[in-house]
Structure formats: C-alpha cells, structure tokens
C-alpha cells in the first residue's frame, strides 16, 4: 500500500515535466487573405484596404496606368505575381549550418549531409547558388584543396565520380528535388565555386516552376592524405536563394 502511494506521488511530481517533451511551437505564417498582386498608391500600404476575394485580379479592373493619377502621385508599385492568388513567401532553409567532419584519418573519406528546403510561390521558380570563401584551411594557412575527383576532371561547374579512397580533397554532391543533372548518382561530386579564386557562384538547386517545400540533400565529402598537416580546417560556404524575376 505504501508503495502504491509512493508511486502515485512520484507520478504526480514528474507528470508536469512531461509537457516539456511536447514539440516546440511551430512558427506559422499568418494567413494572408489579400491577393498576392497588389497595387500600392500613396497613403495605401500593402496591408490596407485590399479585397480578400481569391478571384480578384487588380490588373483586369485597373488596367493601364491612368496618366493623370500617375503624374499626380509620382509612382505605381506592383508587388507579387498577378496571376497567382495563393501567397507563398519565398523561403530557404537548411537543416544544419555547422558541418563537423570530426577527426579525419588519412585515406578514410568522411561525409556529412544537410537538407535544403525551398518554397517558391513566384512565377518562374527560383535558383539557389553556392560558393565557398576559400579552401578549407587552418588558422596558420594550411589548406585542404578542392577535390578534382577520381579522373581529375570535376570542377565547380561539372560533377565527376569520386569513389576512390586515394582521391583527396573537399567537395559536395546534390540529390533530391531540383538538383543539377550532372549529379547522376551519389558518387558524383563537384568542388564548391571558390570566391578567393574569383569563381562565380554555381547553382545547387533550381526550378522554373512554382513549388512548396522542394527538398534536396547536400552531401559534403572530405578525404585527406597521410601528408596532410594536422589542424582544424574550416571555411565558410555561402548559399544564395533568389526567386526568378
């Protein structure tokens, strides 16, 4: 009997803590009921006085700019895409921005992955590009070069097979929605475009279509030789996501 009372007491004590295990609140976008294509005039900001009907197309009712109105106000603004009535803000996310390969053993490639997700509600789709600031390097300037893959032919613009443990360097693979077509399978890798060498950003995801939650996986790979100097090698990779105009 005493055991039962203790059991009930302890359960009552611990039960409140179980609420902390429920998932954190998800930040939801506020539902916007105005059309995505609005005409903004002086004293009328984007949130005020906009009809909420999904079938309302301002371009068909207002049509061409009224010359008198334009010259008196001085401007005309259109935000969004006129034929798309649902509003999907343009968004980009990455599952983890800090990539840690851990301690590297010579001749033992290590891979790590991140998940990239894009939502593009605008006409014409989007593109995500990437570039690295420079090679992976230590604070004393020792570097791990970018991989040229097994045949020595891969670059920042063209992927190649990298499967040998005797091929060294740093590179990445893309797979999933909207990934570039030269990543034929998981053995194909590219170098990152290197800003220090004035190499232009390269596309890692792109689409010409409207899409929600387009998901791709980026796999980072590094392999070092026995003569690689010891140290903590780091660099920065910049991802730029821009919708089509």
């Amino acid at each position: 009997m005493a055991s039962s009372k203790i059991l009930v007491f302890l359960t009552a004590l611990l039960l409140p803590f179980s609420f902390y295990l429920s998932p954190p609140g998800i930040h939801a976008q506020a539902k916007i009921t105005s059309p995505n294509y609005i005409i903004q005039m002086p004293n009328l900001n984007s949130g005020a006085g906009i009809p909420s009907s999904a079938g309302y197309k301002l371009d068909t009712t207002i049509g061409q700019t009224a010359p008198g109105l334009y010259s008196s106000t001085g401007y005309l603004v259109r935000s969004g895409f006129q034929y798309i009535h649902s509003i999907i803000p343009f968004s980009f996310s990455m599952s983890n921005f800090l990539i840690n390969f851990g301690t590297l053993m010579p001749g033992t490639p290590v891979t790590r992955t991140s998940t990239l997700v894009v939502s593009a509600g605008g006409a014409g789709g989007y593109r995500v590009t990437a570039r690295e600031a420079g090679y992976l390097q230590t604070s004393t300037g020792k570097t791990i070069p970018d991989s040229t893959c097994d045949a020595g032919t891969c670059s920042e613009t063209a992927a190649g097979v990298w499967s040998l443990a005797t091929t060294y360097g740093f590179g990445y693979n893309m797979s999933g929605n909207d990934a570039p077509s030269d990543f034929i399978d998981g053995t194909y890798f590219r170098q990152f475009a290197n800003a220090a060498l004035s190499e232009g950003d390269q596309s890692v995801m792109s689409s010409v279509n409207v899409g929600r939650d387009r998901t791709a996986t980026i796999t980072y790979k590094v392999n070092v030789s026995a003569v690689q100097a010891a140290g903590s090698y780091q660099n920065r990779v910049l991802f730029t996501a821009i919708p089509s105009f």
């Binding site: 700019t65 259109r78 599952s95 840690n100 792109s206 910049l238």
Partner: protein
Amino acid sequence: MNKLLKFKNKKIKGRFFVFLITLISLFIIHNSVAEAQTLGLSITPPIAEVMIIPGKIVTQTFTITNDGNDGMASIYIIPFKAQGESGNVALDEKNAVTATSPYASWFSIISPVSVFGEKFYMAGGQRQEITVKITPPESATEKDYYFTLLYELDNNIPGGTLSMGPTNQARIGSNLILSVSSDGNPPKTAEIVEFKAPKIIDSLEKLTFNTRIGNFGSYVFKPDGEITIKPTFGSVETLSLAPLNIISDSVRNIPCLKGEEIIVCQSNRKVLVGVYKSTLEITPNGSGETQSKTVTTVAFPFSIIFGLLLIFITYRIIKKSQKVGKESS
C-alpha cells in the same frame, strides 16, 4: 495472499521504473534535438515592380523572417542582370549599393537599421519589416533599373564549438524592378526570337511548342499572348502564354499558363491526320504592336501504318510457311 500482494507490488514498481527511465530519456533526446543548428529565412513579396517619375519618392516594405536559430541579419541592395533565359539573376556584387556607389542616393533604408549592411539581431522565429525608400534623381535616365534586395543571416555559433569543416551562411533575395518614366507609359517592344514546333509529327502525339521572346527595349514587359492551333479537321485550340517578366536586353523562354499553373506549351488534344497551323500572337503588356508568327506541322499516322505493315508482313510469312509445310507433307 501476501505473496500475491508482494508480486503485484513488484510488477508495479517495475513498470514505474520503466516509465521513469523512458521519461528521462525523452527529456535528454528533446534537449539534444533542440541544440541542432538550423538555418531558415523567408522574404515577401518575392518581387516588387515600381514605376516612378524621376525625383519622386516611394517606400517599399519587405517582410523577412528568421525561421532558424538566432542570428545577426543584414540587408543589401545589389544590381542584377538576366542570366540565361529562365528568369535567373546574375548579381553584380561589386556595385552593391553603398555610401559610395553610383546608386547611393537612390536608396535608403529606414528600418530597422539606417545603413545597408549594418547588422541587427534576429531571434529565431522573429519576423521583421524592412522599409526601403526609393528616390531616383531627377537627372536619372528614363529606363529600367534592376536590383535584388538581399537579406543575409549570420547564425550564432555556440561558444566553445570548434568544428572541422564548413560553416554555412545563407542569404535570400527579393527582386526589385524599377522603371523610371515621367509619363508612366513608356514604349515597349516585344520580339519573337523563336517559335518552334515539329514540322512532321506522328498521329496521336501532342504538339509541343518552344517560345522565346526578346526584349531589346528599355523597359520590362509581360507578354500577353496566345498560341492558336488550327487543324485541317476539328476545332481550334488555344493556349495562353504565361505573363512572365522579360526585362530589357534579354530573351526569355516563355511557357504556357493553365489556371495558376505554369505548364509546357503543348496541345491538350492529340493530333490526328492533316496539316496543323499554329500561330503565336503577342503584345507587350496587352498593348503596343502585336507580333505574330505561324508554324506548320504535318500529322501523319506513321506508327499506325508501320504497325499495320508489320502485321501484314507477319501474316504473309505465316501463310507462306503454312503453304510450304502442306506441300512438303
């Protein structure tokens, strides 16, 4: 009875400890998950098209969110040009708007900071409005100017973290199409660079078109256009072009529009037999000079005829071999 009670107590105790251990494990796992370094940005609207008289002022508000970990945000405005024919931008980062750039007097940021590039704190889950004032000078040449407003987020790296590998950073853009015009009705010229369909097609296939429209004028336009397919037999079919922006000095591959969906320009019906005349007609923004081009496609039942021929030949071979068999027996 006492033995039964003891056994029941033991069972209860056992279950309680399993429950306790599960609770503690979930608590630890939850905290581990909470430490994952996520990065998430969003911006709206994804595009703003401004037509403005030189010397006038307009403010445009963008809403950004940080959907990941806490970080330091900064805002830039960078000119762009078209890259390729799919509406992608090529940023001219060397000419980003700064205090000394040619466009320094055109743009100013009103909130939440007062200088482009100045960092401000954004907590995870935070939404922020960015207000930008646009003032092309009175002396500005009347034409289009194209910019991307970039929102860059530098996530906080937990203290004591020493990683072996890359640290990722992200930035997200919204395009700004600025048309400087004193009358609000600048001239726009569209050109049909390419309108292609197969010259010969097999019956029961669908007609697919490739349309490329050029803008060699000074102002952006959206093509207002249709493809009309007239067969020898049957009714006319119409496809609507997607009103995508074609900025000045660029060519864009234009797909078709069905409802709110961008689709390949392809006939809904399969072709039968005969001559199909397809005409593309476009006007820039629904006004101005109409451009048109017609292509002709001949539909012929190649596969059907080939199939029938194959069947006939096979039949003849079988008949012949049956005849030879009878003669030899």
